[in-house]
Amino acid sequence: MIGFENVRKEYPGGTLAVQDFSLEIASHESVVLVGTSGSGKTTLMRMINRMVDPTSGRVHIDGDDVTSLDPVQLRRSIGYVMQASGLLPHRTVLDNITTVPVLRGTAKREARTHAHELMEIVGLDAALAERYPSQLSGGQQQRVGVARGLAADPNILLMDEPFGAVDPIVRAELQRELQHLQRDLRKTIVFVTHDIDEAFLLGDRVAILRPGGIIAQVGTPQEILADPADDFVSSFVGADRGARTLHVERVDGRDVVVDADGRPAGVLAASGDRSAGEGAADGRTRERSS
């Protein structure tokens, strides 16, 4: 379990990144911090592995105040996947994935065997093992980033807009695979994004942040869509533009779901037909808000 207690972060010069933030994140839960730039979401996430220390307040993991832990050991015990992958450009895919296990003293051969398994899990062709990051596509680099984050089998995975820099089709694919992965691995995931659809897709709970790390609303995607706390949340999730208010129109004998602006959002599944499976959570929330 990760806990934030009245956390505040002020930078020298007076910039207030986070005012007063409290949140508890249960083990095996995936929580998405979503907000615009300046909302302090990345700052908050980086407090968990002490890349940022709070000015006041407490961050704890399973009861231990993180400031009492050695930052290097702490970081090695937490997976970190970042925007634009952050891979070491002078090391091969395999060496990048084994970075943390090797730092932790795992034998190189063992780490490499495990890295090959991870490559398969995240959908990377084994032939890429000896390539350098610059020889990979953006999507492949992000997969390597995810494999590296998982390599030391951490309980906690921090993901900082990991799919922000790839094209929409690849992004959708990576999101879907992360959902699969999470179903099997059940890590505690803290995920940062500015994309509300991504947040609703990947978060068991979503925290919508105002500038200064103020929680506008926290809850399941369903709760937030069904009952936005205020105009800020409505506007953020698109409810005020009618994007979340759906109704059914009958076109050529099929039920087409259309939002308030008349933009088609999808078709209505026949009763009992759950083949739309992957997007089930998303689909449910949209149905509910109609």
């Binding site: 592995n49 290097v72 702490l74 090695r76 970190y80 952050g86 450009p89 002078h90 943390v100 590296r148």
Partner: protein
């Protein structure tokens, strides 16, 4: 001797008598290389750790740049004379001057090498749990190695071209031919000495250029 001093200097270089013995070209070249190596190595022991620290921490950069600039502005001949007056004739005075001459390039090479790593890459390495030392030795240095070698290249070429000043205060090296020639108005010998210094500088420059190419990190496109 007759004709152009340049042809005479080539004739001087071709004279086998100049290629043997304690005053011969091979031995003088070795002395010259020795002074250069010693000057650059002592300077490196001082400048490289400071440069790496400045580059990694970002602290003291203003001071380092100002000091390097000031050291560059010092006239080496003046320094050699000054040190010779202070410590006497011999090798110490010119070596001190060569160290001061070599420091700016080495300092700049070391801190620009470390600084050249992308901040996002360094941040990622730290977030994975690398210690600051591991970030320096496994990320910043491998990525910046060509720039560090470039610092050695600049320093070496400057010192090798200036090392003839050792002979000005009584030591050996290729400068002997130049200052002896100056004293006895033997211009072919002076030119020959200069040509040897130039050749040595070019050889060292090309060797270190090659080293720069060889130390470029794999997987990173040549910058």
């Amino acid at each position: 001797m007759t004709g152009s001093p340049f042809l005479d200097s080539l004739r001087w270089l071709g004279d086998s008598a100049h290629w043997t013995g304690p005053g011969g070209i091979p031995l003088r070249t070795l002395e010259h290389l020795g002074y250069t190596a010693l000057g650059v190595l002592v300077a490196a022991l001082l400048a490289v750790p400071i440069g790496l620290y400045v580059g990694h921490s970002g602290r003291g950069k203003g001071v380092a740049v100002a000091a390097a600039g000031a050291a560059r502005a010092l006239p080496t001949l003046g320094l050699v004379t000054l040190f010779a007056l202070l410590v006497g004739i011999g090798l110490t005075a010119p070596l001190l001057s060569f160290v001061i001459l070599a420091i700016p390039s080495l300092l700049a090479g070391a801190y620009s090498a470390v600084e050249s790593a992308e901040p996002a890459t360094v941040d990622a390495a730290r977030a994975q749990g690398m210690t600051e030392w591991q970030i320096l030795t496994r990320v910043e240095l491998p990525l910046g190695m060509p720039l560090l070698v470039g610092g050695f290249r600049g320093a070496t070429v400057q010192v090798v071209a200036t090392a003839m000043l050792a002979a000005y205060v009584g030591s050996g090296g290729l400068g002997r031919y130049i200052f002896q020639g100056l004293g006895s108005q033997n211009y072919p010998q002076m030119i020959a000495g200069s040509l040897l210094v130039i050749a040595l500088a070019l050889v060292l420059d090309l060797t270190l250029l090659l080293a720069q190419r060889l130390t470029a990190p794999p997987g990173v496109r040549a910058s």
